[in-house]
């Protein structure tokens, strides 16, 4: 583990996620040593807080008051905490930050604290409750990174969710205007977005691009007639349309030997996670996008063995960890299960070929 200040320094160089390439994680680490900028970013967020005391790994003698740094390699496997244990095999590429708190969120007292915490965590900005829809006052981390590393001819970012509720889990990605971005929770539709253009091979790109150019010109002709606020809104649409044109042309020319088949409809949470993981890996390998956010929706209690107690992780378990040791244990298992999923994703990413990626 490293001191969080050190982490933040590195983050500016390394990125928060796993920079993966031809040689996988070892290469990502090597990049950290060369101060190379991040090439890929995956932000994975699950729905709930966690039982800190079962998560932390604090070898004896370490202060709770002062910064410290411990190499994860120096902690034996049996000493790893249960929530982090599945990631032990990736310890060489792992940075765990102990001691972060959402102090600013605690100061931001307006509105629902769940929303506030989420927005502070992913945007570093204050929540905006002035509208009925909770917003951020700044863009989220993934979008800031996407602005720096995205290719203009590919998807700037991909927002995924494993939540079918219609609310698409807790939002991770907020645009420049502070509004949350729409997410895709259906693997088949996500596949269509990533690989549809490549597979359908628009035979008439030039003509299709011309229809978009026409629309672009109409936007230009209308814009001067609008008031300032409407023009800003139109221009945002207009910029996206222009980017889309370039992106469609670029996406149709993607050379992607590892493009997967459209996924089958997953029938449980783990299958859906793995389907999304495969899409993320393939998108990175083919350089279709470089930034992904994945919001993990409600994990069924059955999947981590606690359905005999409740069906509701949020209210039935997560809210009870402070005064109920049984629920504390259950949430530890919950984290363990999510860590297993993340470890599988990292396995997958580490084994993927790199196409003009992180090198």
């Amino acid at each position: 583990m490293i001191h969080r200040r050190t982490f933040l320094e590195r983050m500016g160089l390394l990125g928060l996620g796993f920079g993966l390439g031809r040689q996988g994680l070892s290469k990502a680490l090597a990049q950290s040593n060369t101060n190379a900028p991040p090439k890929r970013l995956v932000v994975i967020s699950h729905c709930h807080g966690w039982p800190y005391s079962s998560w932390r790994m604090r070898p004896s003698g370490l202060s709770t008051e002062r910064p410290w740094h411990v190499e994860l390699n120096s902690i034996s496997a049996d000493q790893w905490s249960k929530p982090l244990a599945p990631l032990h095999r990736h310890r060489s590429a792992l940075v765990a930050i102990d001691g972060l708190s959402l102090a600013t969120a605690e100061l931001d007292m307006d509105g629902n604290r769940h929303d506030t915490g989420w927005i502070h965590a992913w945007t570093g900005g204050w929540a905006d409750f002035s509208g009925a829809d909770t917003r951020s006052t700044t863009a989220s981390l993934d979008q800031l990174v996407a602005r720096q590393i995205a290719r203009v001819d590919r998807l700037p970012s991909l927002e995924l969710s494993l939540d079918d509720s219609g609310e698409n889990g807790r939002p991770v990605s907020y645009g420049q205007n502070g509004l949350r971005l729409p997410v895709e929770s259906d693997p088949a539709r996500a596949w269509q977005r990533l690989f549809g253009a490549q597979n359908s091979r628009y035979a008439n790109e030039r003509s299709i691009a011309e229809t978009m150019r026409y629309a672009f010109q109409e936007f230009q002709s209308i814009s001067p007639r609008l008031d300032a606020r409407s023009r800003i809104k139109l221009d945002a649409h207009f910029d996206l349309l222009n980017q889309l044109k370039g992106r469609l042309e670029g996406m149709a020319n993607v050379q992607c030997p590892t493009g997967p088949d459209s996924p089958s409809t997953p029938v449980n949470y783990d299958q859906k996670f793995d389907a999304m993981s495969e899409l993320i890996g393939a998108a990175f390998a083919c350089d279709i996008t470089r930034v992904v956010s994945l919001s993990l929706g409600e994990l069924p209690t059955r999947d981590f063995g606690w359905n005999h107690l409740t069906d509701d992780v949020h209210k039935g378990l997560a809210h009870g960890i402070y005064d109920d040791p049984v629920k504390h244990t259950a949430m530890t298992d919950y984290l363990h299960h999510h860590s297993m999923q993340v470890a599988r994703l990292v396995d997958l990413l580490a084994g993927l070929p790199d196409t003009n990626g992180s090198g």
């Binding site: 605690e106 604290r113 509208g131 009925a132 829809d133 700037p156 970012s157 509720s165 219609g166 645009g175 205007n177 509004l179 949350r180 971005l181 729409p182 088949a188 269509q192 359908s200 628009y202 008439n204 003509s207 299709i208 011309e210 229809t211 978009m212 026409y214 629309a215 109409e218 936007f219 002709s221 209308i222 008031d227 300032a228 606020r229 409407s230 800003i232 809104k233 139109l234 945002a236 649409h237 996206l240 349309l241 980017q243 889309l244 459209s262 996924p263 089958s264 409809t265 029938v267 359905n307 005999h308 107690l309 409740t310 069906d311 509701d312 209210k315 039935g316 809210h319 009870g320 402070y322």
Partner: protein, 625 residues
């Protein structure tokens, strides 16, 4: 004032052409108004800030594609997409379970949902352009453009396929101009006509006439004039003005139909017959009698009460499974526990259908009153939901409604149809919208009902009461949602919320929620909770001082139906939905509408009255950055 291009339409399709033929002679109804003049109670200053220039919602886009092309409401009745169109975009089969292929529906297109404002679509502040949305708009444009070739109303000429090339060229250009006028909901300008002509010329070099039509139509469907409700007169120097006739026509149709104007509305705009209140009210009455109004008006209520969430309610199998004849705990397997999803899926869809039909029937087939919305004892029930309503329902005469839906059962995607028959709820058990299983199940946890959520829904959504956020730590002290919990759900909730810091809100929030303690998480009527008699009595006060005292949800429903604050809230929500912004509570126009609704209680007349207000037709330039 927009310049109008002399029409070139031949009149072969007189009905469709009618509105556009007349547009050149349309009288100007634009009225510029002094900046500070109050109009029918609407002040000109900040009252209308933020109005205008909204995009069509995903739902509106889909309805407009369908109506622009004159295609049926049921996608299964759509004609095949022509081969010429497949060259540009095809709907790709998706992999279904176990490798089977699932053919996506040709309509509606699945767009990303809007962020929305307060649960409602169609507000400027809730619309955030994203790369994802733009991609889908572009794909949808190419997809639907292909149907122009098989649309029964696209061509201005007859026997398209039999024409020679020269005649096809001529007819195609005319057809495209007319299509653009309808897509943009107004006459096109000379510049716009030139742009279209240039596009046609450029594309026709590389494509035959059929392909060129598809591409030009796709371009129109990506244009801002189609995607946005573009103000027509924004060059006006005045800050405040009344909407012009074409703008009014669009505003009417998207308010009452969720789709584009029909020919009668276009014709009225062209003839300048959307200028007086009487003309607007006549149009509104005509439109509300049209079948297109039904889903649109129901959709308002679905947004009001978050009814889309019913498709993801998850009552616990171990509690509710036995009621459907299955074991409480399934063995772990790899099939995704198909038994319970196979029961829940149809049940969720049935709940959604029952709520939809209840609202539609009350407003359009019943007496149309707000009171009936909250107190009617007649509804619909399917075989799948019969166990929720219990054995004491009474069948009543009326048509059985068929309700198609899709669901994954035993890992297989299936399309099925529910049959919903009209029923009378058992006396004393259930009456009104708020006692429908859909509403009750949404506001419930997997095991126990959620009186706080139910009370919050009553106060916030029906009463427009503003509730603060829970105090820090409040949610962590909520009662457990497990079968082994002690006491009754009401008692546990009361204990959890009794600290003074909580009580400020919960004193008014809990009682209306407790009124629905007679319904479990699935919405079944119950008299016992954890072995104790259910207590659904209570009393509370709304912010306007109205007091409510009741023994059960039916009594509460009666009192809510007659409450001034609740009726006023319903009116103000409709007004906000209609004009895209919230009027101040002191606004005289709003007060007049509320006063009238308190008296006549008629929802259709309320909508007609909203259309007749100046607020409905007023717009101003925004100076806000």
């Amino acid at each position: 004032m927009v310049q109008v291009r002399p029409t070139i339409l031949s009149g072969l399709v007189a009905l469709i052409s009618l509105s556009m033929i007349a547009c050149e002679d349309a009288p100007s109804t634009e009225q510029e108004l002094p900046a500070q003049v109050p109009i029918d109670g609407v002040q000109s200053d900040d009252a209308l800030e933020g109005r205008g220039f909204r995009a069509l919602t995903p739902r509106e886009r889909n309805n407009t594609y369908r109506d622009l092309l004159g295609l049926p409401h049921s996608a299964s009745d759509w004609p095949d997409r022509p081969i010429a169109a497949a060259r540009f975009a095809t709907l790709q089969n998706r992999a279904g379970v176990f490798g089977s292929q699932v053919q996506p529906s040709v309509w509606p297109w699945v767009f990303p949902t809007e962020n929305g404002v307060d649960g409602f679509e169609g507000f400027v502040d809730g619309q955030n352009p994203s790369a994802y949305d733009l991609e889908e708009v572009q794909k949808a444009a190419l997809h639907f453009a292909g149907y122009a070739l098989v649309s029964p109303i696209f061509f201005t000429c007859q026997s398209w396929q039999d024409l020679d090339d020269a005649a096809k060229q001529s007819c195609a250009k005319e057809s495209i101009e007319r299509f653009a006028q309808r897509a943009w909901r107004r006459p096109i300008t000379p510049d716009e006509a030139t742009h279209l002509s240039n596009l046609w010329s450029s594309l026709s070099v590389r494509h035959n006439v059929d392909e060129t039509i598809v591409l030009v139509v796709a371009a129109i469907l990506q244009s801002p004039q189609f995607l946005f409700l573009v103000p027509i007169h924004e060059q006006s120097q005045s800050n405040v003005r009344l909407l012009g006739p074409w703008e009014v026509a669009a505003q009417l149709s998207y308010f009452l139909w969720d789709t584009m104007p029909d020919q009668a509305l276009f014709a009225a705009a062209a003839r300048g017959q959307l200028a007086t209140k009487e003309q607007l009210m006549d149009q509104a009455r005509r439109m509300l009698a049209d079948p297109k109004a039904r889903p649109a008006i129901v959709h308002f209520h679905q947004q009001l009460l978050h009814l889309n969430r019913v498709l993801s309610v998850s009552p616990a199998r171990r509690v509710y499974g036995p009621a459907f004849g299955i074991e409480p705990e399934p063995p772990l397997d790899t099939t995704g526990d198909g038994v319970w999803p196979g029961i829940l899926g149809p049940l969720r869809h049935s709940f959604a259908a029952e709520a939809h039909l209840f609202i539609e029937t009350v407003i359009f087939d019943g007496d149309g009153t707000f009171s009936s919305l909250l107190t009617s004892d007649q509804g619909f029930m399917s075989t799948q939901s019969a166990g929720v309503y219990g054995p004491n329902v009474t069948a009543i005469t009326g048509p059985i409604k068929r309700w198609p839906y899709g669901n994954v059962e035993f890992s297989q995607a299936r399309r099925r149809v529910l049959e919903l028959r009209p029923i009378r709820f058992p006396a004393g058990e259930r009456a009104g919208l708020m006692t429908l299983p859909a509403i009750l199940a949404i506001n419930a946890y997997p095991v126990h009902p959620a009186p706080i959520l139910r009370g919050k829904t009553v106060l916030e959504r029906l009463g427009c009461q503003v509730l603060g956020a829970p105090i820090p730590g409040a949610e962590a002290s909520m009662p457990p949602d497990s079968e082994g919990a002690e006491l009754t759900n009401r008692e546990r909730t009361t204990l959890a919320t009794h600290p003074p810091a909580c009580d400020a809100c919960h004193a008014s929030m809990n009682p209306p929620g407790f009124a629905y303690e007679s319904y479990d998480s699935l919405g079944r009527y119950r008299t016992q909770d954890n072995g104790f008699d259910v207590d659904s009595s209570g009393s509370f006060m709304l912010q306007n001082g109205e007091e409510f005292t009741f023994d059960n949800a039916l009594e509460l429903g009666q009192q809510l139906a007659n409450s001034h604050q609740v009726r006023d809230c319903y009116v103000s929500r409709w007004v906000k939905y209609a004009i895209g912004l919230e009027l101040a509570s002191s606004n005289q126009g709003l007060l007049d509408l509320q006063a009238a609704f308190r008296q006549d209680d008629n929802i259709i007349e309320l909508l007609v009255s909203i259309v007749a207000t100046d607020a409905f037709r007023l717009t101003r330039r925004s100076t806000r950055q």
